[in-house]
C-alpha cells in the first residue's frame, strides 16, 4: 500500500480477571467463578496506540477479542476509546496461547485486508507475551515486540523503538505487520460519557470459534497443549507493625526495630 492510503488497524485485547479483586477461598484457591474482569491493563495502551495512529494517518481501528459474552464489556470500552468496530470470537473453550493466537489469526484473515495488528506486551493475568509474536507467525508477518514509540514512514512502513533489556533498538518493517507495545508508549485516554454512549451503536461482529476451524485440506488447528493443573495463593506473612506518631518518633522507633531484627 502507499503511505497515504488509510490504515486498517486491528487491536487485540483480552478481557482478564482483575487480580486485585480476586478472592481466595479457605483452601487457598482463587474464586474464579463470578470474579470481576476488565480489559487487561496494557491492552488499553494497545487500543490507545491504534486510535492515535488512526487519528494521525486516517483509517479504521477494529478491536478483536476472543472469549465469552463477558468480553463485550472490554470491547465496549475499546469502542468508547475510539475503535470503529469490533470482532468477538465466541469461545467458552479453554485455549492456551498457541490455540488462542491461531484463532485470532484466522479471524484476522477473515477480516482482511489489514495493515497493522497491535497487541500489548503481555496480559495482566499471565504475562506470557506470546500471543502477539505467535499471531505474527501464524500470519507469516514481520513482528516488532516491546514497542515504546511508533513512527509512520511515508513509504508504507512503520519505524519502532523497541525497549529491550540492554538497549533500545530502532527497527522498521513494511505493512502489514504485527507489533506489541509497552505501557510507557502512551497514556490511555478516558472516554467521555458521550463516547461511551456512542460506542453502543458501533458494530460488533461475531465469529463463532467453529466457523474459524480449518476446512478440508487445511492443516489441523492446534490443540491446547498447555494445562493449568492447580492454582494456589502465594503466602506471605508479615508483622504489619505501624508507626503513626510524629516523623521523629516514628523514625527512631523504626531504627530500633530494625536493629533488633539485625538488619542494620
Amino acid at each position: 500500500m502507499s503511505g497515504k492510503a488509510p490504515l486498517r488497524i486491528i487491536v487485540c485485547l483480552k478481557h482478564a480477571v482483575d487480580e486485585s479483586e480476586l478472592r481466595v477461598d479457605a483452601s487457598g484457591h482463587p474464586i474464579l467463578q463470578g470474579a470481576q474482569a476488565r480489559m487487561s491493563a496494557f491492552d488499553r495502551n494497545a487500543v490507545e496506540e491504534g486510535v492515535s495512529i488512526k487519528e494521525k494517518a486516517g483509517g479504521t481501528v477494529t478491536a478483536l477479542s476472543l472469549g465469552t459474552e463477558d468480553v463485550r464489556k472490554s470491547i465496549k470500552e475499546a469502542l468508547a476509546m475510539g475503535c470503529d468496530r469490533a470482532i468477538l470470537v465466541n469461545s467458552s473453550k479453554y485455549l492456551d496461547a498457541l490455540a488462542t493466537s491461531y484463532y485470532l489469526a484466522r479471524a484476522v484473515q477473515r477480516a482482511a485486508p489489514y495493515d497493522l495488528m497491535i497487541c500489548s506486551e503481555g496480559a495482566s493475568d499471565t504475562y506470557d507475551g506470546l500471543v502477539g509474536p505467535m499471531l505474527a507467525q501464524w500470519l507469516d508477518l514481520p513482528f516488532m515486540g516491546y514497542v515504546r514509540r511508533t513512527e509512520l514512514r511515508g513509504d508504507g512502513s512503520l519505524q519502532c523503538e523497541l525497549a529491550m533489556e540492554e538497549s533500545v533498538e530502532v527497527v522498521e518493517a513494511r505493512f502489514p505487520s504485527v507489533i506489541s507495545v509497552v505501557s510507557e508508549i502512551n497514556s490511555p485516554r478516558y472516554p467521555t460519557l458521550l463516547q461511551i454512549m456512542q460506542a453502543s451503536k458501533k458494530p460488533i461482529e461475531e465469529f463463532p470459534l467453529d466457523s474459524l476451524a480449518p476446512g478440508p485440506g487445511e492443516a489441523a488447528a492446534p490443540e491446547a497443549a498447555v494445562r493449568v493443573l492447580d492454582t494456589t495463593a502465594q503466602s506471605m506473612s508479615r508483622k504489619k507493625i505501624l508507626f503513626e506518631g510524629s516523623p521523629e518518633e516514628s523514625a527512631s522507633k523504626l531504627l530500633e526495630a530494625l536493629k533488633s531484627e539485625g538488619v542494620l
Binding site: S20, D96, L98, T232, P247, L254
Partner: protein, 306 residues
C-alpha cells in the same frame, strides 16, 4: 534419543538455562542436555532465523524440551518455535520436571506466578514442548555436578541469509548496569509518591546512609524515566531478595510486591494508611515521605555519632 535443548541469548541466563536443562534430563530418566550457541547475536531483526535454527537442532537431537530464558527476545523465539512445531509453551516456569501419572503420556510440569504474583499455578504441557525460565530459577553451578553426562554444545547454523523483514536501523545501548540489585543487602525504592525527579535525592541519601542501593517502581523507571530501567523491581522487572527493603511512596500493587516477596524485612513509608503496601510490610511509617525520610536521615546520623 531423549534430550533437552538449552539456549539463551542472554549471557547472564545461559548458565541457568543449562542448569535447568540438566535438571529436566534427570527427571526424563537418562536424557542428555544439549547447549545451543549462536555465532550471530540474536536480535529483534534475526530472531526468526535463530528460532528456525533451533528447530533444526531440536529435531536432529530428538529434543523433548527446548528451554529458553524468559527474556523479551526469548519469548519471541519461543513463540516462533511453538507455531512452527505446533508445541505448547510454558512461560516463566521453575521447578520443572517430567511427570507421568497412571499410564497417561508424560508431561513437563512447572510452577509459575499468575494474577500478578498473587497466586502460583502449576502448569503442564504435553511433550515435546518449549519452556522459558526467569532469572534465578536455577543455580548455574548445579548443572555439571548433578547431570549424569556433561552437556554437549552445538552451534546453531543460521540458514542462508534471507532478507530480514524487520530492518535494523540503530542500536542505542542503555547505560551499563551500575547497580546490582539482585545481590544488594539493603534496597531503598522510590515510587510515584515523589513529586519531582530532584526529590529522589532523599532516597539516594537514605540508601547511602544505610549502605544500600536505590530501586524503583515501574512508573518511575519506565513511564517517567526518573530512574534507570535497571532499577525496575517487580513482575516485569527484577526480583530482589535483600535483608532490608524500604518502599518509599510506593502503593504496593501486586505487580511490584511480586518482586520483593523474598526480602527478609520489608519497610513501607506511605502517607495513606490504607495503602496495600502496609499489608505486606513488617514495619510501616504512616506519614509524608518529605517529612519522614529527613527525620530518618537525622536519626541515623545521631545514632552514628553516639
Amino acid at each position: 534419543m531423549r534430550s533437552v535443548l538449552a539456549f539463551s541469548e542472554s549471557p547472564a541466563l545461559a548458565a541457568e538455562v543449562a542448569a535447568g536443562a540438566a535438571t529436566i534430563c534427570e527427571s526424563l530418566g537418562g536424557g542428555f542436555a544439549v547447549i545451543a550457541v549462536s555465532s550471530e547475536t540474536p536480535s529483534p531483526s534475526n530472531f526468526e532465523a535463530v528460532a528456525d535454527a533451533i528447530v533444526e537442532v531440536a529435531k536432529r537431537e530428538g529434543a523433548q524440551v527446548v528451554l529458553l530464558g524468559a527474556t523479551r527476545l526469548g519469548r519471541q523465539v519461543a513463540a516462533r518455535i511453538a507455531v512452527k512445531t505446533s508445541q505448547g509453551v510454558l512461560s516463566d516456569v521453575r521447578d520443572l520436571r517430567v511427570e507421568s501419572s497412571g499410564g497417561a503420556a508424560a508431561m513437563l510440569t512447572g510452577v509459575r506466578p499468575v494474577f500478578a504474583g498473587k497466586f502460583n499455578a502449576k502448569v503442564a504441557s504435553v511433550l515435546p514442548c518449549v519452556a522459558t525460565i526467569p532469572s534465578g530459577a536455577y543455580a548455574p553451578q548445579g548443572a555439571s555436578a548433578s547431570s549424569t553426562q556433561p552437556p554437549a554444545t552445538v552451534e546453531i547454523a543460521m540458514g542462508p541469509k534471507a532478507p530480514e523483514r524487520v530492518k535494523h536501523i540503530e542500536t542505542r545501548p542503555k547505560p551499563k548496569n551500575t547497580v546490582d540489585l539482585k545481590s544488594a543487602e539493603v534496597i531503598v525504592s522510590a515510587g510515584r509518591g515523589f513529586k519531582n525527579k530532584e526529590d529522589l535525592v532523599l532516597v539516594e541519601n537514605l540508601a547511602e546512609a544505610l549502605g544500600g542501593v536505590v530501586g524503583a517502581s515501574r512508573p518511575l523507571s519506565s513511564d517517567l524515566g526518573w530512574l534507570g530501567e535497571e532499577r525496575h523491581i517487580g513482575l516485569t522487572g527484577i526480583y530482589v531478595r535483600p535483608s532490608l527493603y524500604i518502599a518509599v511512596g510506593i502503593s504496593g500493587q501486586l505487580q511490584h510486591v511480586a518482586g520483593i516477596k523474598d526480602s527478609k524485612i520489608i519497610v513501607a513509608i506511605n502517607k495513606d494508611k490504607q495503602a496495600p503496601i502496609f499489608q505486606v510490610a513488617d514495619y510501616g511509617i504512616v506519614g509524608d515521605l518529605y517529612l519522614v525520610v529527613p527525620a530518618l536521615l537525622k536519626a541515623i546520623e545521631t545514632q552514628k555519632a553516639s
